[in-house]
Amino acid sequence: MVTTWNRIKNSDFIYHFLRDPVACVSFMILLVLVVSSFAAPIIAPHDPYNPATIDIMDSELPPAWNAEGTAKFLLGTDDMGRDLLSTMLYGMRISIIIGLGAVALQAFLGIVIGLLSGYIKRLDTILMRIADVQLSFSTYMIAIFIGAIFQMMFGVANYEQIAAPLLILIIGLAEWPQYARTVRASVLAEKKKEYVEAARVIGLSNIRIMWRHILPNTLSPVLVISTVQVANAIMSEAALSFLGLGMPMTKPSLGSLITAGFEYIFSGSWWITILPGILLVLLILVINLLGDWVRDYLNPKLYKG
């Protein structure tokens, strides 16, 4: 255990990480954001999902530092009288869950399809053409289409129940070709290497060679695009919610909060839109900065092959 810890402590990864202030700060911020969003039920001062605690009379209160604000609502309240800080924490949790879930689905589909496409020549053309077709649809177009159908089929009330899994499904289905292409490219490079031939000489089956030998060696580029994809998925979710096709107002994500506040921005209640907006930008920014760092760290090795 001690040796493993020492190994990690002395690894190049940690060494380079600690010497990059941007990466360190980004990681700290991300850590704070993720922990506080998942700890929302414990640390949030109010429960935005419990209608009993919400008083409509408290609506549109400005943040505490404002003359009209109260200490009870640190960042003010939204149009329904919910504490904005608590709602944002809960909302960020939903955003992150949808982002991670969508990426997990994308990665699963993309890796399986990329592996098959790279390893089995007969499937390559057809799978990659499907990916091309998929990429020529915009994510939002598919999402709007599917979202609208589901809202019609299930009704708005039921739609609220299935909104989160549905968003994961939509964003996941829309973006898998990114993974498939990346994985396919590294499979094509790896399968020419002699250790794959050695595995074939032993007589291992193709499936085993794909999973046990090739897949583990294609994972570093997957890691790199995953960071970018998480940020993209969170943004897609926010954009869909902004268009009213995402999370409903009863269970708002950061995107739906921004939309909800949008109506009040001209009546002076800027904080309902601006504060979740800042949080969203911050979240995406730190994920992208970390992703950039990971890519820079791994890239020279990728080139060395």
């Binding site: 250790y195 031939e197 000489v201 032993i202 291992l204 583990p216 060696n217």
Partner: protein, 339 residues
């Protein structure tokens, strides 16, 4: 035919291997003089090679890069199916077997690769790499027996069995090549194809690996098909040497015969080009470059560079002809006694 000769372990019969590198049919369409034509680019890597490998011998295949020697090795191992021709193992044809039927032969013949950095899976520990073939082919063995076997092969190639949990990048090039050999030995094969096993190593390490291979041959009664471009190494390790040029066999003879009395003009040129320690240069110059294996010359493939060339060489492909003393030569000039 000597198919049933028990001394012969592996026979290669008229093996042809071509690769289509022209891609999909859309990419094959070319504009040619205002007409649309479909053009296929086919690399003719191996063109009708036959020879036998006797039990316990080391047969080396030498040639310059692009002569098809590695393709031949991989075809023998069943990594590439031959376009035509047969591979026989102890008189039984193996090139057309299904994976399931081939499984038995996989334990009998194994391969060692050139690049010690690419031939081991970087994400698997050495122990895992070595256990994999044993577990796959002998599932009846218990955990302890597998571990015993792994320790045994590691000791055999001179790697401390305690290093099983290390990853390939923790080893030097020579040690990795030893591990590669251990993986090949894990199934106790009779026949090992070694594709340039020492080309990527330093001189002092080359000697260690060559010695190891010769020791193992003696101990375990192995038969080698040794692929190399280095004639001085080949001269040292082989019993029989085959010289390849552009996918064809030029000459095959017992080592001493080949190095003392090379018959084929290409063999002669190749031998004279070996740098000899502390001798002034005196090599036979070959004119021109090696033609592309996509557009092979008509007739004898060597005729564009051969100084004994005549009209027959330009039109007729020389057959592999048995010469005196277990030799094979494919040359019109030798046959006509012009050389």
């Amino acid at each position: 035919m000597t198919t049933n000769n028990p001394e012969i372990l592996v026979s290669i019969r008229n093996v042809v291997k071509h690769f289509d590198i022209s891609g999909g049919w859309l990419e094959q369409i070319k504009f040619d003089n205002g007409r649309i034509t479909r053009k296929q680019s086919i690399v003719k890597a191996v063109n009708g090679i036959s020879f036998d490998i006797k039990k316990g011998q080391t047969v080396s295949v030498v040639g310059e890069s692009g002569c098809g020697k590695s393709t031949l090795a991989r075809t023998v191992m069943g990594l590439y199916p031959p376009n035509s021709g047969e591979i026989l193992y102890q008189g039984k044809r193996i090139d057309n077997l299904s994976d399931a039927k081939l499984k038995h032969y996989r334990t009998r013949m194994q391969m060692v690769f050139q690049d010690p950095y690419a031939s081991l899976n970087p994400r698997m520990t050495v122990g895992k790499t070595l256990r994999e073939p044993i577990r796959f082919h002998r599932p009846e063995l218990k955990e302890g027996q597998v571990a015993e076997k792994v320790a045994e092969v590691m000791a055999k190639v001179g790697i401390d069995p305690d290093w099983q949990d290390r990853f390939p990048h923790e080893f030097s090039g020579g040690q990795r090549q030893r591990i590669s050999i251990a993986r090949a030995l894990a199934l106790d094969p009779d026949f090992i194809v070694a594709d340039e096993p020492i080309a990527a190593l330093d001189v002092s390490i080359q000697a260690q690996i060559l010695n190891l291979m010769m020791d193992l041959q003696e101990k375990s009664d192995l038969t080698y098909l040794f692929i190399s471009h280095d004639l001085s190494v080949v001269e040292h390790i082989s019993d029989v040497v085959a010289v390849m040029y552009l996918g064809s066999l030029c000459e095959m003879a017992p080592k001493k015969q080949l190095f003392d009395n090379p018959a084929h003009p290409y063999t002669q040129a190749l031998l004279s080009a070996i740098p000899k320690l502390g001798h002034e240069f005196s090599h036979e110059k070959l004119k021109g470059d090696i033609p592309s294996p996509i557009n092979l010359p008509a007739g004898c493939v060597f005729h564009t560079r051969c100084k004994y060339v005549n009209d027959r060489c330009r039109s007729e492909i020389p057959a592999q002809r048995a010469g005196d003393g277990n030799t094979i030569v494919a040359c019109h000039a030798v046959e006509e006694k012009r050389i």
